[in-house]
Amino acid sequence: MARDLFSPVGILDETHGAVTRTAGPWLGVLWLCTIPYRLAQVYFIHEILSLGVAAPQYSGHLESLALVVFALLLLAVFGRAVYVRACLLALQSGSGAGREAFRVPAAHLVNSIYGALVCEVLFAMTVWMFVSVPVLAAPTGLVYVAALRTERPGLVRPLLEIGRLMAGVRAMSGLLSTFAVAMPIAFVNFYVALRLGLWAASSLGGDSMARWTHLLRPIHPMFEILPGEPLTALICTAGALLIIEPFWLAALTVYVHRTRLRQSGEDLRLRFRVLTGAR
């Protein structure tokens, strides 16, 4: 147990272990529930970009797409709630979580759905101001771990818990800056992996290769780590978010777990056990 319970480095260290223990099968559950939501977001943004100035004339079509995005968000919320519970069970037991991770308490699930919808609506209201993405990144992830600290459904309590967790400025700013750096790295890696796939598939040939080559072309021949096609950039962003998300949620779960240890005094008991070498 680290002396400094809320050091971002300590949290990230424990996150690695938590993700390793919960990866099978809970990472699969998270991705199965989140991929449709991310793809729907990509399709929605692509449609807006494709329609251009004519977008307001197709508001009915866009609203139905936005409704699909919101409906798939509910599935994503379930996947995230299960994953966060699996991470917490793994942290508490020191081994992998069993099927009990699926049994998310109803109050936690309802509070997670409510919190996620609040964040999504706030994002929808402020996305045109550009500042909403970094500002809402923390509360959007904290929704699921804050729900763990609630015992019953409520309109204010889940939001208060998010605020309380965000008050740990050092841990939160450390985690946010780490994942802000990880995001472009994951983006570039995802794009390069797609290009490597294209290169490997090019040996097979076929008529569709020209289309894939066009879709995955770089922004500039001398700068081959960024995609030139907007759709590819959107898919790479979604891919990077999918890669980052399990680590982000696990890091926040570790943070909440450590907050609980501090409140219960268990951290001192564990530290004492380490110091005395007791088993």
Partner: protein
């Protein structure tokens, strides 16, 4: 600085094991009960159970689900409005 060893509030002859997170009293292993990762003494735990048992969560579920339904209804419209506004700023 000398660390003082605290004894149990209910059993002065026993060493303290935990601090109740509600009344902040030091209690021994027998008097402490851990609930949801947090230590409580017996009276505080009884109070907590009594208050959590008397209030029905049904109203809370109804309120939260109604709020979620409202957000679900206005969310898509807001998203389209905002995205169109953003798209216009790029034009």
């Amino acid at each position: 600085m000398v660390l003082q060893r605290s004894n149990c509030y209910n059993h002065p002859d026993r060493y303290g094991h935990a601090t109740c997170m509600t009344c902040k009293k030091t209690v021994c292993q027998e008097c402490a009960t851990e609930w949801d990762g947090i230590n409580y003494c017996s009276p505080c735990l009884a109070n907590r159970r009594k208050t959590s048992g008397t209030r029905s969560p049904v109203m809370g579920y109804i309120l939260v689900l109604l709020a979620a339904a409202g957000l679900f209804a206005i969310g898509p419209k807001l998203l389209v409005w905002s995205a169109t506004l953003l798209q216009r700023s790029f034009e």
